[in-house]
Every structure is written in structure tokens, then in C-alpha cells.
């Protein structure tokens, strides 16, 4: 009796949550895939026709936005790694007793709504705002200089919003490095640069990988930053998908675009995992 109980216990525990994830995560993905191959409209309903043309049309119409999103995603992720690494490094090796205080300070933005933070940046960077107005008044900048509406403004917003997601995993990886390993390298006559390159950097890679995983996907599919800080020349694929769903109610096109976006991002992440030699993505992510 007890043996049977022990055997079914995990299933009973998992059942409600697992069902929830199945019903509201896995099945919607299937309905979305199916909807992308249907034809019709909201009023008259949709019929499954296996209409692949939707994909062809959607891709040719929105290719530039898709490519732009991926470029923004890659550029932002590279900037994130460069900006985050020294911070994570310093806190991990020199933070001392105040490590958790520093981490807490880095997480402060999370106590303010994501939308509100991004709008705050618009207030700061606007043409008559506290940055541009004084510089223009002093004649240091010509009147026609704008920050808002440009690609750098959008990328800066993306980097700002996702920086903590890069610092934390890199920090965790660096924090785990046994100082004795670095000392051993130094005892074997590695200079600081070599010790960094041959010991610390390889050991930090799983953290960088986790950081990329946590930032590249949400950055590439973001539409808040581009909508708030950008212009029509910075439109990202997320804005297109959102507009197709919520404004135009063109569900097949929007579903096809969502699917393409997810497929491209997943392929990118797995290719990156391969390139790093990280065979088991799950293992890294599970840490």
C-alpha cells in the first residue's frame, strides 16, 4: 500500500500544475500553429486550409522588421555582456561582505514597473528634457539633434531594461570559481591576463550563456522599448505582431509571424549553445 502511495505521490503533486502548463502553454502553441495555416476572418470564423502562403506573404512584408529585431537583439546582447561582465567580476571578487548589497542595488529597477521605467527614459531623453535642453541652450549641440526615435535610443532602452538579467548569471558563475584555482594558475607563472583568459573566462562561460539565454530572446521580441523610445524607422517585429493581433485582428498573419520569430530565436539559441560547446542547454539553465 505504502509503495503504491509513494509511486503515485509525484504524479498527484505534479498533476494540477502540469495540467495548467499543458492547457495554457503547450496547447495554445498548437492552436497558434494551426491558426497560422487557416483562412478566414474574426466575424465569419476560420477554416483550416493549410495555407502556407500566409508565411510567404508575412515574411516578405515584414522581413525588414524581423531582421531589424534580430540585429537589435544581437547588438544589445553583445553590449550587455561587455557592460555586465566587469560589474559581475568586481562584485564577485571584491564585493566582500557587501556583495548582497551591491546585488540589491542592481535589482532596484525591478521595483518599478517596466513600462514606467521606459517612459521615464523618454522623459529624460526628450528634446526639451534635462539632457538635451541644457546642452542645446549652451550651444554645445545643434538644435536639430534628437535622441528619441533613433536606433541607439531603442538599443539603450533594451540594454537598460535587461542589464540585471545579464549581471546576475555571470555573477553566479564567477562567484563559484574557487580562488585556489586562480592562485594555482598564478603559481604556475601565468600572468594576470593569462590567468583571466585561461581560467576565469572559461569558468564564467556557463554564466554568460545563461545570461544570453535570459536576454537575447526577450530583447529580440520586445516591443515596449521601440514603441516608447523609437520611431517608425525602428519598428521591431514585436510591434508588428502586436498590431496584427490587437489592432488589425489578422490572426493568421500574426500567428505565422509569432511562429517564425520563436523558431528563429530558438534556432539562434541552440546554435549559440553548439558554438560554445555547451551540449546540454538544460543543464546550464537548470542551475
Amino acid at each position: 500500500m505504502n509503495r503504491v502511495k509513494r509511486q503515485i505521490a509525484p504524479y498527484l503533486l505534479v498533476l494540477p500544475g502540469g495540467l495548467w502548463l499543458l492547457l495554457f502553454f503547450a496547447i495554445p502553441m498548437v492552436t497558434m500553429l494551426s491558426l497560422s495555416l487557416q483562412q478566414g476572418d474574426v466575424v465569419n470564423g476560420y477554416v483550416f486550409t493549410g495555407h502556407w502562403q500566409t508565411y510567404v506573404d508575412a515574411l516578405s512584408n515584414y522581413e525588414s522588421q524581423l531582421v531589424r529585431s534580430l540585429i537589435y537583439g544581437v547588438v544589445s546582447t553583445v553590449i550587455l555582456i561587455v557592460l555586465a561582465f566587469p560589474v559581475a567580476y568586481w562584485i564577485a571578487f571584491y564585493g566582500g561582505k557587501r556583495k548582497s548589497t551591491y546585488l540589491f542595488l542592481l535589482l532596484l529597477p525591478f521595483f518599478v514597473s517596466f513600462v514606467l521605467r521606459t517612459i521615464s527614459w523618454r522623459q529624460i531623453l526628450t528634446d526639451d528634457g534635462p539632457v538635451l535642453h541644457p546642452l542645446k541652450a549652451l550651444g554645445l549641440l545643434p538644435e536639430n539633434v534628437h535622441i528619441l526615435g533613433t536606433a541607439p535610443a531603442v538599443i539603450a532602452g533594451l540594454v537598460y531594461n535587461f542589464l540585471p538579467f545579464m549581471v546576475l548569471p555571470v555573477y553566479v558563475a564567477l562567484e563559484r570559481i574557487d580562488p585556489r584555482v586562480v592562485e594555482a594558475a598564478r603559481d604556475l607563472y601565468a600572468d594576470p591576463a593569462t590567468a583571466f583568459r585561461r581560467v576565469i573566462l572559461p569558468l564564467s562561460l556557463p554564466g554568460v550563456f545563461a545570461g544570453v539565454l535570459m536576454t537575447f530572446v526577450p530583447v529580440s521580441s520586445d516591443y515596449v522599448n521601440s514603441a516608447v523610445l523609437g520611431s517608425s524607422s525602428t519598428t521591431m517585429i514585436g510591434q508588428v505582431i502586436q498590431a496584427q493581433y490587437l489592432a488589425n485582428s489578422d490572426y493568421p498573419t500574426a500567428s505565422a509571424l509569432s511562429f517564425v520569430l520563436m523558431a528563429v530565436l530558438l534556432i539562434g539559441v541552440f546554435a549559440y549553445a553548439r558554438a560554445l560547446g555547451t551540449e546540454d542547454v538544460m543543464k546550464v539553465a537548470a542551475r
Binding site: Y11, V112, P192, Y223
Partner: protein, 284 residues
Amino acid sequence: MTAQTLQRPSTAEPAPAAKPRRKVTGRGVMHAYTWVIIAWLALPIFVMIAFGFNNPKGRYNQTWDGFTFKWYGQLFALSELTSALFISLVIAVISMFVSGALGTGIGYALGRYHFRGSGSLNLIMFATMSSPELVMGASLLTLFVSLGVGLGVVTITIAHVMFSISFVAAVVRARVMTLDRSIEEAAADLGANAWTTFWKITFPILLPAIFSGMLLAFALSIDDFVVTNFTAGTTVTFPLWIWGATRVGLPPQVNVMGTLIFAAGVLIAVVSNIRSRRGSRKQD
């Protein structure tokens, strides 16, 4: 040579203060740099707080026109904003408890038992945590549309629970895995049955992890914009209201509410941190 020893990253202790005027080291630069990054991250928060005290002349709360406390007095003057905040709070609390319960079940099972299907469960959890929010929201919208379900508070809550479960489960699983089994065995040796052992021993040990998972779920829910935008229909939550109001100009009340939420969040984090430190000291 001395400069090299100073830079050794392994030495945790600062070098002896032999030279009062130290030259610029990589370490010092990184320290300053860390503070620059922290300041950069905090800048919009200060702007938000400051503009809650602004007294704008027009409808745009963009330029500084003088100091006032009046928005704190008129905090609930905009009924739509107040009800949006209320709806957000209700959804966050429900989502916190439901995903807390469901996520704890999954996390406990994954941390404690080996069972068929645990691999695919891990995979689906990983997928929910790494899929673009946009795609999750969009696919839920297609499900609700094809089922003919009306969008509103219920569909938002369903969505929030969905993306929170995996985070709660991950936090609880990590705690279950590091659990010292000998404590439970001691309880069993003293005659407690499995049920008593669980509720008297295991559950109280897991409780802090469950709490932090639930807090995470609350935070994810109350701040969520993307998924909510797809599953809300005509219902307006706090982030959605802010989003809609940006075009016509944000009223200072939004800054005040943001400031109060920020203050409450920081307070809760600091207090729980102090309490958990005290707790761990007691255990020693």
C-alpha cells in the same frame, strides 16, 4: 612586481596600506564603474520619484515647474487609475496563491522523486521560462479566441499563473534538493508517520522558499505588460493604464503610485532579508 601582486584577483583582503597614494588600478576602475552602472540603473527611478512632486503647468508632466505635495493628497482622484491598480493587485494576489500551490507541487515532486515524465516536465518548465512573452501571450489569445472565451480578469489571471508556476517550481525544487534528509529520518525514528513528518518538519523548512517563490510570482504578475496586453480584452490593469495614458500625457498620480510601490517593494525586500539573516543566525 608589487603592482602585479596587488592585482591578483584571488586575494580577497585589500593590500596592506603601505602606499597611501595608490595609483589607479584595474580594481579601482571597476569599483567606480560598478557605481556608475548602479547610478545609471537608478536614474529613471529618481526621475519618476521627482516628477511625483512636480507641479506641471500643462497636461504634460515633462518639465520641472515647482515642488508640490498635492498629488499625494489626490492619489485616488483618478477613478480609472485607481481601479486599474486595484485590478492589478487582485490578479497578482490570486496568481500568487494559485501558482504558489501548483508550483510548489511540481517543485517538490521534481526535487524529491524520480518519476517517468520528469524530463518532459523539466523541458516544459524551461520552455515557459525562455519563450518570448509575446509568443506566450499571442498563443493564449489564439486559444481563447478559438474557444470563444471572453477576455478579462479571468483570462489575465490564467495567463499570469501559467508563466509564474515554473518560477515557483524552480525555487522550491532548488530548496528540496538541498534539504538535509537526516532531519526527516530523525522524525521518523521518533515515531512520526510520513504525514506528520511532512507537515511538522519538511513543510516548515520549505516555507521560506515557497514564500520567495510566491513573492516572485506576485512581482511578475503586477508588473506584467506584454502577456496581459494580449489576454486583457477591455480590462485595464495598472501597466496597461500607464501604457494607454502615455499618448495623452501621464498624470503625476502615476509617479506617486510608482513611488509608493517602489518604497513598499524595497521595504519588504529589506525586512525579509534582515529576518532571514536573523533566522540563519539562530540556526547556527
